[in-house]
Symmetry: C2
Amino acid sequence: MSYEDNIRKVKPYVPGEQPSGSGIIKLNTNENPYPPSPAVGRVLREFDQDILKKYPDPEAVKLTEVLAEEYGVSKEQVFVGVGSDDVLAQSFLTFFNSKRPVLFPDITYSFYPVWCDLFGIAYDTVPLNEAFELEAADYDRENGGIVIANPNAPTGREASLSEIESIVKNSPDSVCIIDEAYIDFGGESALSLIERYENLLVVRTFSKSRSLAGSRIGFAIGSRKLIAYLSDVKFSFNSYTMDSVTQAIGVAALTDKGYFSDTVRRIISTRQNAIASFCELGFSVIPSSANFLFVTHPTYPADELFAMLRGRGVYVRYFNSPRIDNYLRVTIGTDEEMKKLFEILREYMG
Amino acid sequence: MSYEDNIRKVKPYVPGEQPSGSGIIKLNTNENPYPPSPAVGRVLREFDQDILKKYPDPEAVKLTEVLAEEYGVSKEQVFVGVGSDDVLAQSFLTFFNSKRPVLFPDITYSFYPVWCDLFGIAYDTVPLNEAFELEAADYDRENGGIVIANPNAPTGREASLSEIESIVKNSPDSVCIIDEAYIDFGGESALSLIERYENLLVVRTFSKSRSLAGSRIGFAIGSRKLIAYLSDVKFSFNSYTMDSVTQAIGVAALTDKGYFSDTVRRIISTRQNAIASFCELGFSVIPSSANFLFVTHPTYPADELFAMLRGRGVYVRYFNSPRIDNYLRVTIGTDEEMKKLFEILREYMG
């Protein structure tokens, strides 16, 4: 026997590349091409460093309160974490604790099976239809929990609110997590269902629409009961997860509503132009409510285009997985970045 | 059945109070009374907020490299996390994965049993002797892992390096975690044993000696194998745990070695004076290698003194637990804060 026999061995999630260097166009990890609100810069410049000698507020009360106000819920319905991945990891650990399988689509955020494996949670994947659409009825079966990314990743495709509601309603004995990382780019949120379904948890992030991927701020909104259980697990893992600077940054970003809506509007507008440009080049584009597009071409293989673009300093995401191995996921950048992308594609595709 | 039947229900760790308000003297959570290095303030003022739109470096390479250099190990032997609680939580999840019980002292950091309960890890506590000393031979039995805080909390008492080595050596089939949160205040580190014992993990924090409790920076140093397993679990939980600002703060704090050693020296000097003052008042003081003292008085009950001090705005820590329910844990503050503490005690104790 050896100490290694007792070690938990897992195959970790592989995040998208984080290349650095000038001239690189990074359209591979769904970051926002615009900087965060100037209010964030003010927080950094004016932050009293002496505060850092003390532990941060373990309950992130101020940030929780502004989130509660923004989304029209009570602060006991809000949970904050170190990015939505942290919120999701703790939610899987808290809520998916039965022997029955957790359900999620076969094509979705590839971290879900990783969390299941880490915590020993059984799961079944539910195939999306040919158009990568979710069929609510497929989830009407015995399960130990459900997690749906909406809009979905990497497809960008949105399920309607009535489909989401039907899933939540038909599994009252399970917690249903709706992962709304991309909802601000035009989707319809399940937050309107929170008061009606005690088993519904909506998870959000500041990483995309609020340009704060580098700060690690995620949150969940749900019934008081779900949030209390989730907080108990969080306080059994690490009392102080979000540092003092980040808590202040979160409050500042959330409060600058004008900047937020301007940024989101610009990205949606760039997305509409990008759809047109992809179509002109003969690509098929999955309808997107997110800050990225999922595209495929009838004659140019996706892996070939991926490698060609990477060679020219443009990073997009390619998943070598069943059903989607001829697709590229392209984050919406600035208008200039997209112009450069399409110049390269036009030149290559002749 | 209800969705609540499938939820993981735990009794969370209760952190020390975080009172706010002017005039309060906070000696209850072992924070550093001095602010972090001025280099930390410069990082905040000069940080380019645009960087925050991108994900942070998931491997915190720069911080890892300066830590490796500081402690004379390779960067593959360093793991960083969101405070040492995060590092410890992930280490419990990774390394304590057998049916045999994990061992730790009966009197120690009260988060250890909480992590065991959260992850379903069996454990046994091993009684310290009457003087709150650890006896290495007590750990020479079948176990699924060992965790020792050294110096111990809440006692402050240090186990010798030879005792630590004997524990690690006698359990080659288990991972032994030495939690050195307080080692910089005069203790002898087990880092010197790292190259000899592949099953040894040393955990440290920036929260105490580097005055950065508010930033959440912890790290572990161990064999390449242990760090690789730990990283796999971390990357299965959350790819991006430490935000970009905090990574830069950590590098700045670690690099300002003069400020660090000055601060530590001041706290040790204040501690020595505090020991003398407690003794003058008739307290017994457990020998401390930490930034706090564990004290008891033959005639004044600890809970009474705790309440009296709290009423006068001085927060110390009282644990209503077997064997230590007549002790107070008092963090070493500034000389002025300690002067105020002893004035109040002298006045009360006549």
